[in-house]
């Protein structure tokens, strides 16, 4: 039996009186793409923020790569290999596209402050290595032509891809994609689906978790879905089953229950 790389058990979190997440359970296995869908305010992003430790849960626990991470902070889980993107793109505006990608390799850099200031050989070696890795990543995602531009000069769809590249370059174990299709036009959404499928083919070991409320994206991408509504998981299963599910249809379309 395979071990899940990311596991949530009975995860709960509330803001004041609002239960944003209520007893959420999930397993994510290496190499899988799973999705969390649900209408606005269903607690999807809260789940992501709990995984990446921006929030602390009220109860329940999270296991990542076989280690309970309930007491770890944001920086520690990131260094363990959990990378994410943000719903409202959060590229570093002061850095070029290439530097944005490089920076996610930088925490593991080997040279110290002194070597950085006095241009000692270890710095050169490492900088060359970092640049090669970042550039390879951009090339494999066909973003190399934008390497020297500032992210704010790129169209929205490309900014999304750069953000995914930045999360991907450090070869994370788990990649969390928070509404990758938000703000994209239908054409860009199809490009994005191809893009994610392609990167998954290139890095088959990475487990990807996607939040989305665009059905077309999620149905084409995910092998398994969790449907959230008002903090509760109302359904889970493979996409074709979800499409038939009564509870899901009523949550999405507001149908009267038959």
């Amino acid at each position: 039996m395979r071990e899940p790389i990311l596991k949530a058990s009975d995860l709960s979190m509330s803001f004041g009186g609002v239960k944003a997440v209520d007893k959420f359970c999930m397993d994510l296995y290496p190499g899988e793409i799973r999705g969390i869908i649900g209408p606005n305010g269903a607690g999807k992003t809260t789940i992501f923020n709990l995984f990446s430790r921006i929030y602390q849960q009220d109860s329940g626990s999270i296991e990542f790569a076989g280690i309970v991470v309930d007491v770890k902070n944001q920086i520690e889980v990131a260094q363990m290999g959990l990378a994410r993107t943000f719903q409202n793109i959060r590229l570093f505006s002061g850095l070029s596209v290439l530097d944005n990608v490089k920076v996610s390799l930088d925490f593991s850099g080997k040279y110290n402050l002194f070597e950085a200031m006095f241009l000692l050989p270890r710095r050169f070696k490492q900088e060359k290595e970092t640049k090669e890795r970042a550039y390879d990543c951009l090339c494999s995602l066909r973003l190399d032509q934008y390497a020297s531009l500032k992210p704010s000069n790129l169209p929205y769809g490309l900014q999304r891809r750069v953000e995914i590249a930045r999360a991907l370059v450090s070869k994370p174990k788990v990649l969390l994609l928070d509404e990758p299709a938000a703000g994209l036009n239908p054409e860009e959404v199809f490009e994005l689906i191809d893009f994610i499928n392609e990167l998954h083919a290139q890095n088959p070991q990475i487990a990807i978790l996607v939040i989305e409320h665009r059905m077309d994206l999620i149905m084409n991408l995910c092998q398994y879905l969790y449907v959230q509504n008002f903090g509760n998981t109302i359904a889970e299963g493979i996409p074709t089953d979800i499409q038939q599910d009564k509870a899901v249809l009523s949550a999405y379309l507001g149908e009267e229950e038959a």
Binding site: S52, I54, N73, Q74, I75, A78, Q79, A83, R84, F86, R90, L91, F92, S93, G94, L95, D99, N100, K102, V103, S104, D106, F107, S108, G109, Y111, L113, A116, M117, F118, L119, R123, Q126, E127, T130, R166, S170
Partner: protein, 301 residues
């Protein structure tokens, strides 16, 4: 060059050193510190008092002075770096004021507000200052283009995103702040050697504010801008010393002129004079290449 002119250049170089230090802490790591003058004061007082009292060479006590200002920066920043940016600015400002107040109180050692003047004369100070200035600018430039510089700019742009890429924000800020304070400490010693007398007033909050003004004028994202504005804005009021306005030397209006300049910069070039441009060989080459292209096309400007 006359001694007076050399003195002006030394003053401007000291200003370049401090502004470069402030660039590391404010320009790179985005921490708005208003207490850098305090570190100048600590290290220069410690250096010269120790040298005088124990008869140690300046070179030895200078290391102790710089070390002490780095240590006090560490002690100050451990609890305060977790605060919000504005509180951090307030606390550093309070720290700067505290240092000058302490100097006045410890009259027995520091000679209080009369000023400490038992500072030995150092030969070829000009060359020493130039070498240190070049070294500091060189180091901080290298820092900007290293992994530390990238991580700093990332954390300045977006702290939460930076954390989610494994950047230890707190540790990084701590390092940059201690580094900047050590640089400020070095500048303080040079300042003492140049003026041969140090007063608590010369390290007041207006010196800290002046450094920030210089930095913002040049552009917080550009080390070239920081260096140029640190040099020329310091030099400028001296050049107008003889110009009279309303019966007073124009130099007396220094603060007003700085304020007007800052307002103009904020209005018309919000990112400072240099914005994000850096003077580099690649940039110079590209400018020349463009000119050549224009010449070939016959559209030279």
């Amino acid at each position: 060059m006359s001694n007076y002119q050399l003195g002006l250049i030394i003053n401007s170089c000291i200003s370049v050193i401090t502004v470069t230090g402030v660039f590391a802490v404010t320009g790179l790591a985005g921490m708005f510190s208003l207490g850098q003058a305090g570190y100048l004061a600590i290290s220069s007082y410690v250096t010269f008092i120790l040298a005088r009292t124990f008869g140690l060479p300046i070179l030895v006590t200078a290391f102790i002075g710089v070390g002490l200002s780095a240590l006090s920066a560490y002690v100050i920043s451990v609890p305060t770096l977790k605060l919000r940016k504005d509180y951090f600015a307030l606390i550093t400002m309070g720290f700067g004021q505290m240092v000058t107040a302490m100097i006045v109180l410890l009259e027995k050692y520091t000679n209080g507000s009369i000023g400490y003047s038992k500072i030995p004369k150092v030969k070829s100070l000009f060359i020493i200052v130039i070498v240190i200035t070049v070294l500091v600018v060189f180091c901080i430039r290298n820092l900007k283009y290293s992994r530390f510089g990238r991580m700093c700019i990332a954390l300045k742009s977006d702290e939460i995103a930076a954390k989610s890429f494994g950047i230890d924000v707190y540790k990084l800020k701590l390092r940059m702040y201690v580094l900047a304070s050590a640089i400020a400490g070095g500048a303080g010693i040079l300042y003492g050697l140049k003026n041969r007398v140090i007063l608590p007033d010369s390290f007041g909050w207006n010196l800290s504010a002046e450094m920030q003004i210089f930095l913002f004028f040049g552009g917080t994202n550009s080390i070239t801008g920081a260096v140029l504005s640190g040099f020329f804005l310091k030099l400028m009021p001296e050049l107008f010393r003889t110009v009279k306005l309303f019966g007073q030397s124009l130099q007396e209006y220094r603060t007003i002129i700085y304020c007007v300049l800052i307002l103009l910069v904020i209005n018309f070039r919000p990112n400072g004079m240099m914005g994000e441009h850096e003077l580099s060989f690649a940039w110079v080459r590209s400018v020349f290449a463009k000119k050549k292209e224009h010449m070939k096309k016959g559209t030279s400007r």
